[in-house]
């Protein structure tokens, strides 16, 4: 096994250990304390608005598949979809989902069907939304616009893998005066979201939906574990800068090159 492989396993084991550790030490608490993220607060508010007004939320899951670097963003979107359906079970109109990837479309329909069955929402069992809107960036964006413009849709949540086409979706939401919560893993699209969405999700906030929407203690523990790992990375970066300052600059490079 190479040094890089060994480092990878250490990171995974450390992550799992931290998640288990935080789950155990907070087992008597109802919630593990995590910093508030305004965008998730907004989603909860919008679910309540939809319940009162008889409207529905639109969740677009982007174009990411499940094989490749974009998969985590899509899977995080599916997790959020599940939580939103559970939370809006007393809505007259359950959330509507849209995707730009066939695999994600199947998973979204499966998620809607299984979650709706668990909470006994009949409409979604017959015709679950989550259809494939389009497979190219612009066909997906153009197809999603009709859902955003639907009068029944009171807020739009875009979480998944989006490119520059996200600007179409966020500005369409703005024109409809409906709140837009958006997050993606692509850096240029993140800048667009920051400029155009009313409630942007920046960086790793995209993956934290479950923890903020009540998916369970393991989700919250994983956020705490993520924070610890972030501090470890910060210390490693500062440490390597110091080592560089003292002329010992090959230590980390040798580890990364696999020649420890």
């Amino acid at each position: 096994m190479s040094a890089t492989g060994f480092t990878g396993i250490v990171v995974i084991v450390l992550f799992v250990g931290l998640i288990v550790f935080f789950s155990i030490i907070h087992k008597d608490r109802k919630h593990i304390p995590i910093r508030p993220i305004p965008a998730y607060q907004k989603i909860i508010e919008e679910i309540n608005v939809a319940v009162e007004d008889g409207t529905q939320l639109h969740i677009s899951l982007g174009r990411g598949g499940i094989i490749g670097p974009e998969s985590a963003a899509g899977l995080a979107g599916l997790s959020l979809l599940k939580q939103v359906i559970e939370k809006s079970s007393i809505c007259d109109h359950p959330p509507v989902a849209s995707t730009g990837n066939p695999v994600l479309s199947i998973l979204a329909q499966d998620t809607i069907r299984s979650t709706s069955k668990a909470i006994s929402v009949a409409e979604q069992l017959r015709h679950p939304s989550g259809e494939l809107i389009g497979v190219t960036p612009f066909s997906y964006a153009a197809g999603t616009l009709t859902i955003i413009r639907d009068e029944k849709v009171s807020a739009n949540v875009h979480t998944g893998w989006f490119g520059n086409e996200i600007i179409w979706l966020t500005t369409a939401g703005e024109r409809q005066s409906s709140p837009t919560i958006a997050g993606t893993a692509q850096l240029p699209a993140q800048a667009i979201i920051y400029a155009s969405a009313s409630d942007p999700l920046i960086g790793e906030e995209l993956y934290a939906g479950g923890a903020y929407l009540g998916a369970g203690k393991v989700h919250e523990a994983s956020i705490s574990a993520q924070d610890v790992m972030r501090w470890i990375i910060i210390f490693l970066i500062l440490g390597s800068a110091l080592l560089n300052l003292f002329g010992i600059n090959t230590f980390l490079e040798e580890i990364l090159a696999g020649s420890m």
């Binding site: 094989i67 985590a72 600007i167 400029a195």
Partner: protein, 214 residues
């Protein structure tokens, strides 16, 4: 036929396959099994595209039948889909049975219909991006929005390439912004995304997140 895997079985399969694929990245002896799973995944993804298209057709047929206000778009979509499918099938027959030039009509459709539409949409996107950057201060009047606005402005001014309008100082500032704070910020965001990706993966491997209806 309705094949229904019970939650524990589908969860166990997902976790098992996930662990083997993950191990394949670190342990060389498991790498070949990882490739088998990934190849199978690719084939399934291609099949999923067919399922997705069938689903898309059924959704739009339902919209047409239900008198939806957007049913005109559904009709256009169905006609376009059927015409493109017909063109593709005709091309396949001509190419493989009669040995004529490769996919001539399909290429024509892409070059003369798909590409101009996507290019014009890209042009509209550029205008929308400038509008979004300019209107950020109207949406959010905080320190981050102000910094964002002025950085965008500096980068745009520093990128002007027409000789009378070029200002060397602005070009220098632009290069510094791109090399130091923008690169540092991008790396920070990427580290955050990497941590989020690992967390999501571990939650799925632990069975806490089950995005497969299990």
């Amino acid at each position: 036929m309705n094949v229904k895997l019970h939650a524990p079985i589908s969860t166990a399969i997902a976790i098992g396959v996930g662990i083997i694929v993950l191990a394949g990245y670190f342990i060389p002896s498991v790498e070949s099994i990882r490739f088998i799973f990934l190849r199978t995944g690719l084939v399934l993804a291609a099949v999923a595209l067919l399922v997705g298209i069938i689903n898309l057709i059924s959704v739009h047929i339902r919209k047409l039948g239900g008198g939806d206000e957007n049913s005109g778009y559904s009709l256009i979509l169905l006609i376009s889909l059927l015409v493109t499918l017909g063109v593709g099938i005709t091309d396949m027959v001509q190419t493989y049975l009669f040995g004529q030039p490769n996919f001539r009509m399909t290429n024509w459709v892409f070059t003369n219909i798909q590409m101009p539409i996507e290019t014009s949409l890209l042009a509209v996107t550029a205008v929308s991006l400038i509008y979004a950057a300019a209107s950020i201060l109207r949406k959010r009047m905080d320190i981050n929005a102000v910094i964002f606005f002025f950085v965008v402005l500096l980068i745009l001014l520093g990128s002007v390439a027409i000789p009378p309008a070029t200002i060397p100082l602005l070009g220098g500032i632009r290069d510094w912004i791109l090399r130091v704070p923008a690169l540092g910020g991008a790396r920070g965001l990427l580290l955050g995304i990497a941590l989020g990706t690992i967390t999501t993966g571990i939650r799925i491997l632990m069975g806490t997140d089950r995005p497969y209806g299990g």
